[in-house]
């Protein structure tokens, strides 16, 4: 496997690697199989890392990664270089596939229904942010401004795939308390990021 690119470098929309990857994704959108192989070689370790972190099991992470690239092949045309960097777009597709699996894993009343529904891919189609290196710092600063536990809970949800009930259990607080921490945190976070 060739070296996977450095995420931070790729995310800088102006970087050469970022531009190259966006070009590759454009070729994939036109059905270019060689470009697809190139894309896989350059991004699979990053995306597998994301699937593995969220799912915890190699077998499931492999399946999620496969679904991710199949989805990318099918809808690379919806990638908009003006709205997101290619690596971010790919990373969010991988994360969405992993979360879909994670939430379908648990038996509950709606599991069957949910599995049957074709979950539309939000997030993969459009971003209204232009990321650059500063974007990450900005997010970290804003998360730090939140009350400790809300910031940590939001990070854990996004990076580890924790649900409300996971977080409430971990912190030893009632579900409703966790929900109100995070809901307050989300709106404050939005305010901070838009400042």
């Amino acid at each position: 496997m060739a070296d996977n690119m450095d995420h931070a470098a790729a995310i800088r929309s102006g970087s050469e690697e970022g531009r190259r990857l966006a070009g590759t994704l454009g070729a994939v959108a036109r059905g270019d199989r060689e470009a697809m192989a190139d894309l896989y070689e350059r991004t699979s370790a990053k995306l597998f890392g994301i699937c593995l972190r969220l799912l915890g099991s190699r077998t499931e992470a492999e399946e999620a990664l496969q679904e991710t690239y199949v989805a990318v092949w099918g809808k690379a045309a919806s990638f908009d270089v003006a709205k997101a960097s290619a690596i971010t777009w790919l990373a969010v597709v991988a994360r969405n596939k992993s979360i879909d699996r994670l939430r379908q894993r648990r038996p509950d009343a709606t599991a069957g229904l949910e599995a049957a529904a074709d979950i539309p891919d939000s997030g993969a189609s459009a971003f209204d942010v232009l990321e650059d290196a500063q974007e990450g710092e900005r997010l970290s600063d804003c998360l730090e401004e939140l009350e400790d536990r809300a910031g940590q809970a939001i990070r854990a949800a996004f990076l580890d795939g924790s649900s409300y009930s996971d977080l409430a259990e971990r912190e030893g607080v009632p579900l409703g308390t966790m929900k109100s921490w995070i809901r307050r945190g989300l709106l404050r976070l939005r305010g901070c990021l838009e400042r």
Binding site: M1, A45, F48, R58, R95, D108, P120, G123, D128, S180
Partner: protein
């Protein structure tokens, strides 16, 4: 910030979009958000905006190498053929094959004849993908077993699809916390992982391109028991429960 009651409708919707983007919702709440996502463009954009806001966090996640056969799996899944390959599942021709294979499970004693008929099936099956540019080589088969082990498997190399079809006939059961890993042991004696074998039925396992040249008669295939996720060291760490040499049919 206010509590729920003072919240204007837009904020409530945006908050729900944030919760969905974070993946916090479960059960009915998640199902409701999924329905909204399908129906409401505004909600979809809100979720997309939240995903974009959080996306920089993914930069912190460490990379990990996927198994070498994964690219072949992706490639198969995106290659159009006479039968569509469902996402996240094996191709339906494999399902068909599995049915045939199931017919002769348990007849391990007659394995040679069976392997021969499987090979014939592989070469002649009607829904084979476009032929490889070079003429296919002969299929290979290995009967895998070991002393002190109930496990018995037949592994057949399908040169057309550059994959191994591994069919357990006995003694390979899924076990929580453990995985089965298939190894190729060439003349140099150093085992190379062919990937995890998921117990429960016959499996098609893509052969990583660099290992194709190693698949020849007298090379040993072995199945070991490893911790969940596979051998942490890259070499077998647990007991080998079945092994056998590849031979031409």
């Amino acid at each position: 910030m206010s509590d729920d009651r003072d919240m204007p409708g837009d904020d409530a919707l945006d908050r729900l979009a944030g919760e969905y983007a974070l993946g916090l919702l479960e059960g009915d709440e998640r199902a409701g958000a999924v329905r909204l996502l399908a129906a409401d463009e505004d909600f979809r954009q809100r979720v997309a905006r939240w995903s974009g806001r959080f996306a920089p966090l993914l930069g912190e996640v460490e990379s990990a190498s996927p198994p070498p056969d994964l690219w072949a799996r992706v490639q198969r899944a995106i290659t159009p053929g006479p039968l569509p390959v469902p996402v996240g599942a094996e191709g339906s021709n494999v399902v068909q094959l599995r049915r045939k294979v199931n017919l002769w499970r348990g007849y391990f004693a007659a394995a040679t004849a069976l392997a021969a008929s499987l090979a014939l099936f592989l070469v002649t099956r009607p829904d084979a993908p476009a032929p490889a540019p070079r003429p296919p080589e002969a299929p290979l088969v290995a009967m895998m077993s070991a002393e002190d082990s109930a496990a018995k498997l037949v592994a057949t190399y399908d040169p057309v699809r550059e994959s191994l079809i591994v069919t357990p006939s006995a003694g390979v059961e899924p076990s929580p916390g453990h995985a089965h890993e298939l190894w190729l042991i060439p003349a140099d004696g150093k085992p190379r992982s062919m990937g995890l074998f998921v117990a429960g039925g016959p499996r098609r396992m893509a052969v990583p391109a660099p290992m194709l040249a190693e698949l020849k008669p007298d090379v040993t295939l072995a199945l070991s028991v490893e911790p969940e996720g596979g051998s942490p060291s890259g070499s077998p760490t647990g007991p080998v429960i079945a092994a056998g040499k590849l031979a031409r049919i």
